[in-house]
């Protein structure tokens, strides 16, 4: 079998063996103790040629219903938005995608500057002073924020609203086990954090309070009231935020947030079954030296030219090892680049317009649903998602919607016992009036 990724010829090999002074490449493995040598052949599929494999994988991909073949009303943290064509052209430039972490600034100015621009855009959207170069995703960024609040305040209680994405909460619980933090969930009331329940839990042992803005149900949390409750106990205010919504909504920094995190999947990153997406992490100047992950800073070269470098590395694992602020090494740089291109494309005006379009469409959907007699459960201010009560297993409804050309919403009963039969639906700028009307009609017919 020929392998197109392996360039060595038999002649090359013989010359190289001679230089090394050995007979065969097997000699190079003589340090592997005989009792652990693998002498068989790995039991995996045979090598496959490019045309055959392309055909096979293409048919495998066609077995999946996708967001382009069906009109989707599914959101719940991953959204089907407009992706400018230029995004994929930029991230397909191999100087970007075949490079690694920009350790050598002289030949990595492209990547470094792109990250510096990304950091700037995240600061602009969130209103925070500092943003890092990316995290794995929104939920792990949130978990790192929770752990940071504990180490910073030397307290060990984390309060997290039940209206935060269920998977984010699960990840927070997992990450909290290492440092032994106590994570308490604050119940919801009318689709937003129950302020009374928060008031009852918050005390001088509270390291951080976590809310999502807009929250998992699409509702806009009362950040102002939360901020007031926090101030007396000096707990850190951690906000997880859909950055697209910040094109229209007041940035969390204005409500005194100490850390703002989220996922930039909404900007130029396809859903791809949940990953890779791109977490962001933004904070105050005060916490600059505690930030996890890589930071790019501006400086000058020997001749006074502006340039960029990885900086404040004394926080990181390769320098500080067990004392590092996080263990993150590889991040999501290429997706940060995709999001930068999408954000540049939207620009100062487009970002607001896109957020506004989402809100407009969502209100139209809400009105249509209500006219059709489908109860929309939460009535507070919201972004682009809402909860409907269908009193019937959501899986069943989604199965009925599929042949009509729709991917239905998220089954809230899976994560909230009191919300079985409830569906979370999202609408974005790319859902047309016709799709919304038809969706409401089909859901209405099923609902009866």
């Amino acid at each position: 079998m020929e392998f197109r990724y392996l360039p060595m010829t038999e002649e090359d090999k013989q010359e190289m063996l001679k230089t090394i002074g050995i007979e065969s490449t097997d000699d190079l493995f003589s340090d592997v103790p005989p009792q652990i040598r693998f002498n068989g052949s790995l039991n995996i599929k045979e090598p496959t040629s490019e045309p055959q494999l392309l055909q096979e994988l293409s048919s495998l991909s066609k077995q999946n219903v996708n967001l382009k073949s069906h009109a989707s009303f599914l959101g719940a943290g991953v959204y089907d938005h407009y992706i400018p064509s230029i995004v994929d052209h930029v991230i397909s430039r191999s100087e970007f995608y075949t490079a690694y972490t920009p350790y050598q600034p002289e030949i990595s100015q492209g990547e470094l500057q792109a990250i510096f621009e990304f950091q700037t855009m995240i600061c602009e959207l969130t209103g925070m002073d500092v943003a890092n170069s990316s995290m794995y995703d929104g939920p792990t960024a949130l978990a790192e924020a929770a752990n940071l609040s504990a180490s910073q305040t030397k307290r060990n209680k984390i309060l997290v609203a039940e209206t935060v994405h269920p998977e984010s909460r699960q990840v927070i619980h997992s990450y909290a086990k290492g440092p032994g933090l106590e994570v308490i969930e604050i119940r919801q009331k009318d689709g937003v954090i129950d302020l009374e329940a928060l008031r009852a839990e918050i005390d001088d042992q509270t390291a951080g309070v976590i809310v999502q803005y807009p929250n998992f149900f699409g509702q806009i949390e009362p950040l102002q009231e939360v901020q007031q409750l926090l101030e007396t106990e000096k707990a850190m205010f951690i906000v997880s935020s859909n950055p697209l919504a910040l094109g229209y909504l007041t940035p969390p920094a204005s409500f005194g947030a100490d850390i703002v995190v989220g996922d930039t999947q909404v900007f130029g990153i396809p859903a791809q079954f949940g990953g890779p997406h791109c977490g962001y992490f933004a904070t105050t100047k005060k916490l600059m030296r505690k930030v996890p992950g890589r930071l790019v800073g501006q400086t000058t070269d020997e001749e006074g030219r502006r340039g960029f470098v990885l900086t404040l590395q004394a926080r990181e694992q390769h320098i500080r090892r067990d004392k590092a602020t996080s263990n993150i090494c590889s991040n999501q740089a290429l997706n940060a680049l995709a999001s930068s291109v999408a954000m540049s494309s939207l620009g100062k005006q487009g970002i607001k317009k896109m957020a506004w379009l989402n809100m407009q469409k969502a209100r139209y959907l809400k009105k249509k649903l209500e006219e059709r007699g489908i109860p929309v459960v939460y009535q507070g201010p919201f972004f682009n998602e809402l909860v409907i009560d269908l009193q019937r297993p959501i899986t069943e409804i989604n199965q009925l919607l599929l042949p009509k050309g729709f991917i239905g919403g998220f089954d809230l009963g899976k994560c909230y016992s009191q919300l079985s039969g409830h569906m979370l639906i999202a609408v974005t700028e790319i859902r047309s009036k016709e799709e919304i009307d038809n969706f409401v009609k089909e859901v209405g017919d099923i609902h009866g």
Partner: protein
């Protein structure tokens, strides 16, 4: 901005210029200000650039020319496995049925994607000799933490709460001790011996009743196979500890040896290294973790399983350490790795390791005449030179690295591992031709000669890059981490 500075995207911005193409509102407009309290409506627009589409394309195209990738030239960055990233993988990753599927679609509608994941996890279990694999972790470091959390859960399930320490060799990658801390352990160092591998006597000294695990990178970061691995495994297991295998360097041993057969309990892989996930300028990666049957019940939730011919996500795992990442991991990277494994098959994977190791040894033997080679046995996929000799001439490893830039090479990893003075860690990978290796070797020898004859040319390098050496001290002292409009 100075005339000589390369502009930022923000510096192309001009009021009123746009590059977006959004659908017009096709539903009746409502007044949002009626509904929202004023304090929640943004008053100051974020300063995103106002640029045209062509400006964006020119900007990023120009930036890309200021960046070196594997496709630009040789990139022997040790410990990072900078091999060729097959274009076919990119084609596959962009197929609509893979790129535009939502993680919360009903499982019946995404069976194709789930089948791919199932096949991949099964293949990785076979390649590593482990019982079961999770694809959830986003990168190597997250895989390490996931693995350690499982080990922690195992000890806790046995009521064994005194095991608070994780032993890490002095040559280990920084993420190993950092992950130990994040998982709530104390990292303890075990020394290397004069052959560059773990010192068994020191291991016996540090191991004990408080040992939760030994984290071992094999081949280690010096590129050396841990010859005493069987003895080490026995020492740690006898003390009641678990064995964690950092498989970031699997490129050296595929088809030759498997962590599971070495007695290891947990292993993580870096699919963005061995299995061609493109490095993306720093990520995204993927760090699957394999475990023995004994530890399988602690794997993160959900597990992907096959039931009566279809694939399902199983959340009903009472002993699981929980969820480590939203959804199911970095699917797009896993898909590229799968495409690669299917392209190569068992025969190809073994050849990869054969040539990765051959290339490294060839380079090492040719370079050892000019550079100090602290460990002289055969290496595996990479080797570490010391710039000690050149340092005596006033030329540091950093200077050698910078001089390489003038010849169009990405330098090796420098000053790592920490147990070698003036380290230069070279990993050629199997995808490079002999001509490329020879070209690099000749250049290294030339630089070594320059160090003797004309050290300044090395000390003042690079001479040909778009910027010269950067003032990193000021960058850290007076951090400027974002652009602010003048």
């Amino acid at each position: 901005m100075d005339k000589q500075d390369f502009p930022l995207i923000f510096e192309h911005s001009k009021y009123g210029r746009t590059s977006y193409s959004l659908p017009e509102l096709d539903v009746p407009e409502v007044d949002l200000e009626d509904e929202l309290d004023d304090s929640y409506i943004r008053t100051e627009a974020p300063e995103l650039p106002e640029v045209s589409e062509l400006q964006i394309i020119r900007h990023y195209t120009a930036l890309s020319t200021r960046n070196h990738g594997v496709d630009s030239g040789f990139y022997p960055l040790g410990s990072c496995t900078m091999k060729y990233n097959p274009k076919m993988n990119e084609t596959v990753a962009r197929m609509e049925g893979f790129s535009h599927i939502h993680p919360y679609q009903e499982p019946e509608t995404v069976q194709g994607a789930m089948k791919m994941m199932y096949d991949l996890q099964t293949s990785l279990a076979e390649i590593t000799g482990m019982h079961q694999v999770t694809l959830q972790p986003a990168a190597g470091a997250q895989g390490e933490w996931t693995g350690l959390m499982m080990i922690r859960a195992f000890h806790e399930a046995n009521g064994d709460r005194k095991r608070t320490k994780v032993i890490v060799p002095d040559s280990a990658h920084g993420t190993n001790p950092a992950s130990a801390t994040v998982a709530g352990f104390d990292a303890v160092t075990v020394k290397s011996n004069e052959r560059g591998t773990v010192d068994l006597e020191d291991l016996k000294r540090v191991v004990g009743e408080d040992t939760a695990a030994l984290m071992l990178t094999n081949p280690n970061t010096l590129g050396l196979f841990e010859e005493n691995i069987v003895e080490m495994a026995a020492i740690v297991h006898e003390a009641g500890g678990k064995l964690y295998y950092d498989g970031a360097n699997l490129n050296a041993i595929m088809g030759y040896a498997r962590p599971g057969d070495m007695g290891f309990d947990v292993v993580h892989l870096n699919l963005h290294k061995t299995f061609t996930g493109p490095h993306g300028g720093g990520g995204p990666g993927s760090g699957p973790v394999g475990v023995t049957e004994e530890l399988a019940r602690f794997l993160p939730k959900p597990a992907l399983v096959e039931r009566n011919g279809s694939y399902v996500f199983d959340d009903d795992l009472p002993d699981s350490i929980g969820r480590v990442k939203p959804y199911y991991g970095n699917f797009g990277i896993n898909l590229r790795a799968y495409t690669y494994i299917r392209t190569m098959g068992a025969e190809g994977l073994k050849k990869i390791s054969e040539f990765a190791v051959l290339n490294a040894n060839y380079m090492m033997r040719r370079l050892q005449t000019e550079f100090d080679l602290p460990y002289t046995q055969h290496c595996k996929h990479e080797f570490v030179l010391s710039g000690k000799r050149q340092k005596k001439l006033g030329v540091r490893t950093l200077d050698i690295a910078k001089r390489l830039l003038d010849f169009g090479y990405h330098p090796p990893t420098i000053y790592f591992p920490l147990n070698v003075e003036e380290a230069l860690m070279v990993e050629p990978t199997e995808t490079e031709s002999k001509e490329t290796l020879d070209g690099f070797i000749d250049t290294m020898i030339q630089i070594s000669n320059e160090a003797k004859e004309d050290p300044e040319i090395v000390q003042e390098a690079p001479h040909t890059t778009v910027v010269k050496r950067m003032d990193e001290t000021t960058a850290a002292r007076k951090p400027i981490l974002r652009y602010i409009k003048e």
